[in-house]
């Protein structure tokens, strides 16, 4: 297994060069006894989707997309909002708040399956015909294992260390159709594997270089994208397209600033982290035949492909506003879901077949809902 370790020399160099941000430069904060630094009041209550992060160089020819509301027909998901639920329109896969159990049943509910001792449910994946629940050792010492359930007949099997390409102890997962993507330890290499859940055949894909890793696998009808990175502090992050054993960086993404990527027939969508000290917030762009389009801000690690579109969460713009689920279908930017107002934020949208599930929290109440995207 070739895993990342903290490469201190490299880390130190990157720390000096990659962490250049105005608002949080070391040594500028007040020490005890110093007064906090006052600053002029802000005059802007909200910003349009067009705002461009100052530290993120936009590609030449960038245009700006204006979001319009096109809300989907959202319906409440059964169960508590403390738990994480997703549906494909028929089956509901639920995971307890801290991964202690999961359940799978048509319409929701169902028997709670307890995670094995010492393990927790780390991922939940659902599509039209398959459900996958991933157990993880919270300390990252034991290999992950996945319970694969056929929705057609209810049969299950385990993808684990006895499999030809066993899951690593820690990694990203994605399910599209019957293809499961995951990280595997292959000898000393840390690699991407894909498994056909029907035939149980697994294929070894791209392997990371020493001191490198990958995460945020996003699969769609036009291919697979993911984030690769090194062991720097901060990591130099690159959004790539995966094809077999090869990866290709997304064009136009500022070096080392990548966050996530996704592929559509009409092009790609990618996000960058403008400020390493606000790792939560990303700026999203689309690459189209006509050039790069600025899609505004988003929440890191919430990008997913569902149906013919890419979706991502955007926290409330302003304290009293709602949080939005944004949608880019290759040509237009819309708001697919809008939360209650007030201190709002969204969880990670979960796609199963062509059904999207989302958790939202706001002063007006939390909810967990789902909708068909097409």
């Amino acid at each position: 297994m070739r895993r990342l370790t903290l490469a201190l020399a490299l880390a130190g160099a990157l720390l000096l060069t990659g962490c250049s941000h105005h608002d949080d430069q070391p040594g500028q904060a007040a020490s005890p006894g110093d007064q906090p630094t006052p600053s002029a009041p802000s005059t802007s209550a909200s910003a349009p989707a067009s705002s461009t992060p100052p530290s993120t160089p936009a590609a030449s020819g960038t245009s700006t997309a204006q979001a319009t509301p096109a809300l989907l027909d959202w319906k409440p998901l059964p169960g508590s909002t403390e738990d994480s639920s997703m549906t494909n329109g028929s089956w509901v896969l639920t995971v307890g708040q801290q991964g202690g159990w999961w359940s799978l049943a048509k319409g929701g509910g169902g028997k709670h399956v307890q995670a094995p001792a010492g393990l927790a449910v780390a991922n939940q994946l659902l599509d039209a015909d398959w459900a996958v629940v991933v157990y993880q050792d919270p300390n990252g010492e034991k290999p992950e294992r996945a319970v694969v359930t056929s929705l057609a007949d209810g049969s299950t099997y385990m993808l684990d260390k006895s499999s030809p390409l066993p899951p690593s102890s820690d990694g990203s997962w994605a399910l599209r159709g019957s293809t499961l993507s995951y990280a595997t330890d292959h000898g000393k290499d840390y690699c991407l594997a894909t498994a056909d859940l029907g035939t149980k055949q697994a294929t070894l894909g791209w392997c990371a270089a020493p001191q490198h890793g990958f995460s945020s696998i996003v699969t769609g009808p036009s291919g697979t994208a993911m984030l690769t990175f090194d062991s720097g502090q901060p990591s130099c992050r690159t959004v790539v397209t995966v094809s077999g054993t090869q990866t290709t960086p997304f064009p136009g993404v500022p070096a080392c600033k990548g966050a996530q990527g996704a592929l559509l027939p009409s092009g790609s969508v990618w996000s960058v982290v403008p400020n390493e000290h606000q790792y939560q917030r990303v700026h999203v762009y689309a690459t189209t035949p006509g050039g790069v389009v600025d899609l505004g801000t988003g929440t890191n690690s919430t990008m997913t492909v569902c149906g013919d579109s890419v979706f991502w969460s955007r926290d409330a713009q302003g304290q009293g506003g709602p949080a939005d689920l944004m949608r880019w279908d290759g040509s237009k930017l819309t708001v697919a879901y809008r939360s209650h107002a007030g201190s709002a934020f969204l969880g990670v949208p979960l796609c199963a077949d062509d059904v999207l599930s989302i958790f939202s929290s706001a002063d007006g109440g939390d909810e967990q809902v789902s909708a068909h995207v097409s």
């Binding site: 895993r3 990342l4 903290l6 880390a11 962490c19 949080d24 070391p26 904060a29 007040a30 020490s31 110093d34 906090p36 630094t37 006052p38 600053s39 002029a40 009041p41 802000s42 802007s44 209550a45 705002s51 508590s80 307890g96 801290q98 991964g99 202690g100 159990w101 709670h112 995670a115 927790a120 780390a122 993880q136 919270p138 300390n139 990252g140 820690d170 990694g171 990203s172 990280a183 840390y190 995460s215 990175f229 062991s231 901060p234 990591s235 992050r237 390493e276 000290h277 606000q278 790792y279 939560q280 690690s301 926290d315 409330a316 304290q319 007030g342 201190s343 934020f345 969880g347 002063d363």
Partner: protein, 457 residues
């Protein structure tokens, strides 16, 4: 030799200051400026105290402490197979009433009743079978001490040791009662008791203090300029306060400030953003369960300007592989730094924020950072739902709150030092910087998701 100013001069000067400050008194509206909030935002009225100092432990408080400690059964029900019987919860999770505020052992200052707290804890520590398992401690234990672990720790103690520990915790809490009252008053709009300043000189200002403070004797009258009401006494077992001023009422009239007996020491304005502690004085936890020691390492580093390392603080905190208790966190801040001085935050204590709105939480951060100039012990549950940039869920956790701002999108953000570097323990995950800012709403939701839903202030 300079002559001391006459009282008349002082009064005229104070009036001028008040009139000059009047335009900055909150009138509602946007929150991007330097104006204190209104409406759902805190309802500020002038008072004559900055951070309250340590309260005196009165005979009544001592009697209350003795009552609570003596009520602990000498023999607790046996815990079979790690299960915690209800009798253990009821025997160890107890609350004391100090001057109308309720403090529950291991939980902090709360508006819940003792029965409500016991019921909640009993549900949290119940075995998985036969109940929803949402509280199962399955996620990565990044270092806070769970309720289950805390109860087991207490149950293992001898009755004498347990009584000593309970007495120590309750005494520490009692000494922070004035500060808690002021937070309830300023942030949540709870009227102060009419005799509050008379009973709590530690909440007054002194003539020798900084500008904006006045002579102690001049502020013996009730601090609240709004009509005084009876103390919001919360007898143990009683319900939540009903006399709390609704936080959605109109802002305090400007004239209210002019009726105060003294110039307000609560800033009617806060900077639109502020931060404390140096970015370089940060560290990542080197053990999965050391978020407490590492947070304390950064808190003390910021005070002492010297890094003693997390191992030093793990020993001081009594950290085990099960984690660190938040009550230990506030104890060590009080004992090992000067952040607890009245010129900073006053005595640190554990405060339940389950009832706080995002606006109130943000106001508390403003107060702590801009006025107290002292860090906050944040205590979230480290779930990807709240921190989606993390690759996987974690458990109860500590962070160091050290800043606030409203960004250009109008979102209120809190700044914090994050001891958890996911890449250190899970090398297949990208590095995330120690210095982070996140929306206040997400941080508060993560704190409320923690079964203890409290922070150290």
């Amino acid at each position: 030799m300079r002559r001391r100013p006459r009282p008349r001069t002082i009064a005229i000067g104070a009036l001028i200051v008040l009139l000059a400050a009047a335009p900055f008194v909150p009138r509602g509206g946007g929150d991007h400026g330097v104006i204190s909030p209104s409406g759902d935002r805190p309802h500020y009225v002038p008072r004559a105290a900055e951070a309250a100092g340590y309260s005196k432990v009165t005979p009544a408080m001592k009697a209350e402490i003795a009552r609570v400690v003596d009520s602990t059964p000498r023999t607790l029900p046996r815990m079979a197979a790690g299960r915690i019987p209800t009798g253990v919860v009821d025997g160890l999770v107890k609350c004391a009433d100090f001057d109308g505020q309720r403090y529950c052992l291991g939980q902090g200052w709360t508006t819940e009743t003792e029965q409500q707290v016991q019921a909640r804890v009993a549900a949290d520590v119940a075995p998985l079978t036969g109940r929803r398992a949402t509280k199962a401690k399955k996620a990565r234990n990044t270092g806070d001490l769970s309720e289950t672990a805390e109860l087991k720790r207490l149950a293992r103690m001898s009755p004498a040791a347990r009584a000593k520990a309970e007495t120590k915790e309750l005494t520490q809490a009692a000494r922070a009662v004035a500060k808690v009252w002021l937070i309830r008053h300023e942030i949540q709009g709870v009227p102060l008791p009419a005799d509050f300043l008379a009973e709590h000189p530690e909440a007054r200002t002194t003539a020798s203090s900084a500008a904006g403070r006045v002579d102690t004797n001049a502020v013996a009258a009730p601090a609240a300029a709004t009509p005084s009401v009876s103390p919001t006494v919360l007898p143990v077992g009683a319900g939540a306060p009903t006399t709390a001023a609704p936080t959605t009422t109109a802002p305090a009239p400007v004239t209210a400030t002019t009726t105060a007996p003294a110039a307000p020491s609560v800033p009617t304005t806060y900077p639109v953003k502020a931060k404390i502690l140096k970015n370089k004085q940060t560290a990542e936890q080197i053990r999965t369960y050391w978020c407490g020691p590492t947070s304390m390492q950064m808190i003390t580093w910021g005070w002492k300007q010297k890094d003693k390392g997390a191992a030093h603080w793990a020993k001081k905190l009594g950290t085990t592989t099960a984690g660190t208790a938040i009550t230990s966190m506030v104890r060590v801040v009080n004992n090992s730094t000067g952040w607890d001085k009245p010129t900073y935050a006053g005595p640190y204590t554990v405060l339940d924020v389950k009832s706080f709105t995002s606006a109130q939480f943000f106001a508390l951060m403003q107060k702590h950072i801009a006025q107290y100039r002292a860090p906050v012990i944040l205590h979230p549950l480290l779930l990807t739902r709240y921190f989606p940039y993390l690759d996987h869920n974690g458990g109860g956790h500590f962070q160091v709150g050290r800043g606030y701002k409203t960004n250009k999108h109008g979102t209120q953000m809190v700044g914090y030092f994050e001891p958890w570097n996911q890449q250190r323990f899970h090398p297949s995950e990208p590095f995330i910087a120690r210095v982070q800012w996140a929306p206040a709403s997400r941080e508060l939701a993560a704190i409320k998701a923690n079964s203890l839903h409290n922070i150290g202030v």
